[in-house]
């Protein structure tokens, strides 16, 4: 009833190719955007901005990037943290060395540098796949950890190895209040999500999916695996690189390689599994889930007045986290995004199911 598409006819090619072909979807997205841009800032506390919304958005961006690679192209990467790190340090170096550059340009350049690095580490994917490839990306993780803690030039000779981002300024406007940061990140993430959504339904996205589903068959129907795989690595790394730069500049402010360690990479993988492989929406849901889960787990015992020590809470968090990953893989391999799709199905026929 709420989600009936009967009577919505497509009368032109433009209609047929629209990003959201159903009216309800269009309204819904506009509503979400309106809430995100206008309503949330009116009510959200500083804590909500700094500790939940901003990290959520940035990680969602990284998750979209990773999802393009893993979910759409089928190339497993355990090195997301490393590529975020490259983006962060690239942005830092550019911003410190050319301070007059607009921050948006800095982020884009950082993304491009990450793209190059990502493609270099993507080269093994042409010869190896699956688990072996995952290991190759682990190599990237360990190498980058080392590189950024050892090569002094990359940290602008910081004696401690910890670097801190210059103040983020755009067109003379300082991004230091939580709301400004939130809008800035939100705008970037929305833009990138739009790009990603369009990309995956284009020629190139289809070639990724063909490669993912069966690489040999894809090759036979005329898709060059070199292009498909490397382009996936390139686009994915660009997204991840920009998110790394945002994470460093907007969220952390100052960081060391440990902030992008292997746990970050693992968390990113879990995000897209729980959210849904091969789904842009899933990337958002997964990121939200992973950001919010530990906070909720910490708060729940307090609500119920059960005194639980920090250590126990944190061990339980590990266990619940692990159990959830297994749970999702078994029960809902398509993740939270699938739940959304089911909800839509239900809404279509509600309240008169067959």
């Amino acid at each position: 009833m709420f989600y009936r598409e009967n009577g919505q006819f497509k009368t032109s090619y433009a209609d047929d190719q629209a990003l959201l072909s159903i009216k309800q979807d269009k309204w819904f997205i506009w509503l979400v955007l309106a809430v995100a841009f206008a309503v949330v800032p009116m009510f959200a506390s500083e804590y909500l901005f700094r500790a939940i919304l901003i990290p959520f958005l940035i990680l969602a961006l990284a998750a979209i990037g990773l999802n393009l690679l893993v979910g759409y192209c089928g190339q497993i990467s355990l090195g997301t943290g490393a590529f975020m790190m490259v983006g962060a340090y690239a942005a830092y170096n550019i911003a410190v060395r050319i301070p007059e550059l607009n921050i948006l340009v800095v982020f884009i350049l950082a993304g491009l540098i990450t793209t190059v690095v990502g493609m270099v580490f993507g080269i093994p994917s042409l010869r190896i796949k699956g688990l072996y490839l995952a290991v190759a990306t682990l190599a990237a993780q360990f190498f980058m950890d080392w590189l950024f803690s050892r090569v002094k030039w990359l940290t602008n000779d910081s004696s401690s190895g910890s670097v801190s981002a210059p103040v983020v300024e755009m067109f003379g406007f300082k991004l230091d209040s939580p709301i400004a940061k939130y809008w800035f990140v939100l705008a970037i993430v929305v833009l990138f999500a739009l790009i990603a959504k369009n990309l995956v339904r284009s020629n190139i996205g289809r070639s990724w999916m063909a490669t993912r589903d069966m690489d040999v068959a894809a090759e036979i129907i005329g898709i060059r695996p070199v292009y498909a795989k490397l382009s996936a690595f390139a686009v994915s790394s660009f997204f991840v690189g920009v998110s790394g730069a945002l994470w460093a500049f907007v969220h952390l402010g100052s960081w060391e390689p440990l902030a992008f360690d292997i746990n970050r990479s693992f968390t990113m993988i879990f995000m897209i599994i729980i959210g849904g492989l091969g789904s842009i929406l899933g990337s958002f849901l997964g990121a939200a889930f992973i950001v919010v889960l530990p906070l909720v787990l910490n708060q729940v015992p307090i609500w119920f007045g059960i005194p639980i020590s920090t250590a126990t809470a944190s061990h339980l968090e590990f266990m619940i986290f692990g159990a959830l990953i297994v749970f999702f893989l078994i029960v809902e391999p398509h993740g939270l995004a699938r739940l959304w799709a089911i909800a839509k199905e239900k809404l279509r026929i509600w309240p008169f199911p067959h």
Partner: protein, 298 residues
């Protein structure tokens, strides 16, 4: 010359320990096609169980009890995780073992605590110096390391015999070759999996006890899994000798690199060097040193 030999020896000894962990990977991969990332967490879990139990009872009893715990863990993993994921792609199973890893790490620390727990096997800690007349300064040898190497050797021999000579071993090999064919001749798949996970739990226990006696049992033991991954890549996912040889190569390679190349480019290169080595090898021979070459069917 003396120092160089010491570095090689040090590398070999580290390699033996990597091999022990890698062995667990290989066993499970052979029998169930699962790349078990949780092997490191199993090492931690087994070692924690042993260390805490041995505080209250004699060591052999603690060892048997810890083994019992690992069998239960194996049974639970088969019951709750693997059984529901039969016929899924390898990568899904791989990711599921991440879940198992987190769960075991949390549970292990919750039950047994997150302090450092020493395991004292009564081995002498101070090193011996040999060949003092041949090389200036002599060569350091650790009794503890030698024992570890001997244990690893015995374990491999034992496993080889187990696989070749016993009925269960043959069944395991049959399952490894072809799940369906094995099932059709009446081999119970689920029981085989429990057995193989128990065996790798046993290997994890041995590895955990040896590592633990060297460094104390603590959370970081779970991270040795990350050192064992390049080893299995190098040696091949399906080969027991491959795990041993791969471990030795990685061990020696990374120590030599760290000691001789490290000071030139800044040190701390062990971690990525092992991966780099495995990766370089992968490009040349994707199936690993002793792995079976596999052919994709379209």
């Amino acid at each position: 010359m003396g120092p160089f030999i010491e570095v090689i020896l040090g590398g070999l000894m580290a390699g033996v320990l990597y091999s022990l962990v890698a062995l667990g990977f290989v066993l499970i991969y052979k029998a169930s096609g699962v790349f078990n990332f949780a092997q490191g967490a199993m090492v931690l879990f087994a070692a924690l169980a042993f260390a805490r139990l041995s505080e209250k009872m004699p060591m052999p009893v603690a060892f048997v009890l810890a083994m019992g715990i690992m069998v239960i863990v194996a049974w639970l993993i088969e019951r709750l995780v693997l059984r529901s994921l039969v016929n899924q792609e390898g990568i899904i199973l791989f990711l599921a073992t991440f879940g198992v890893t987190y769960f075991l790490e949390g549970l292990g620390q919750l039950i047994f605590g997150s302090d450092i727990y020493p395991i004292d096997l009564g081995l002498p800690k101070e090193p011996r110096i040999i060949f003092e007349s041949t090389f200036p300064g002599g060569i350091l040898i650790n009794i503890e390391d030698l024992v570890a190497a001997a244990v690893a050797g015995t374990l491999v021999l034992f496993l080889a015999l187990f696989f070749q000579k016993t009925t269960v071993g043959r069944a395991l090999r049959a399952v490894a070759d072809d799940h369906q064919a094995a099932q059709s001749v009446g081999i119970p798949l689920n029981r085989i999996w429990v057995i193989v996970w128990s065996v790798s739990g046993f290997v994890a226990l041995v590895a955990g006890v040896i590592w633990g006696s060297k460094l104390g049992v603590q959370f970081s033991l779970a991270l040795v899994a990350l050192k064992a991954i390049p080893v299995v890549i190098l040696g091949g996912f399906t080969s027991v000798p491959g795990a041993i040889v791969g471990g030795l190569i990685i061990g020696v390679g990374e120590k030599v690199a760290e000691v001789y190349l490290g000071p030139i480019i800044g040190g701390g290169i062990e971690n990525w060097f092992a991966y780099g080595l495995a990766l370089a090898f992968l490009m040349v021979r994707p199936e690993g040193l002793f792995g079976e070459r596999h052919i994709d069917r379209v």
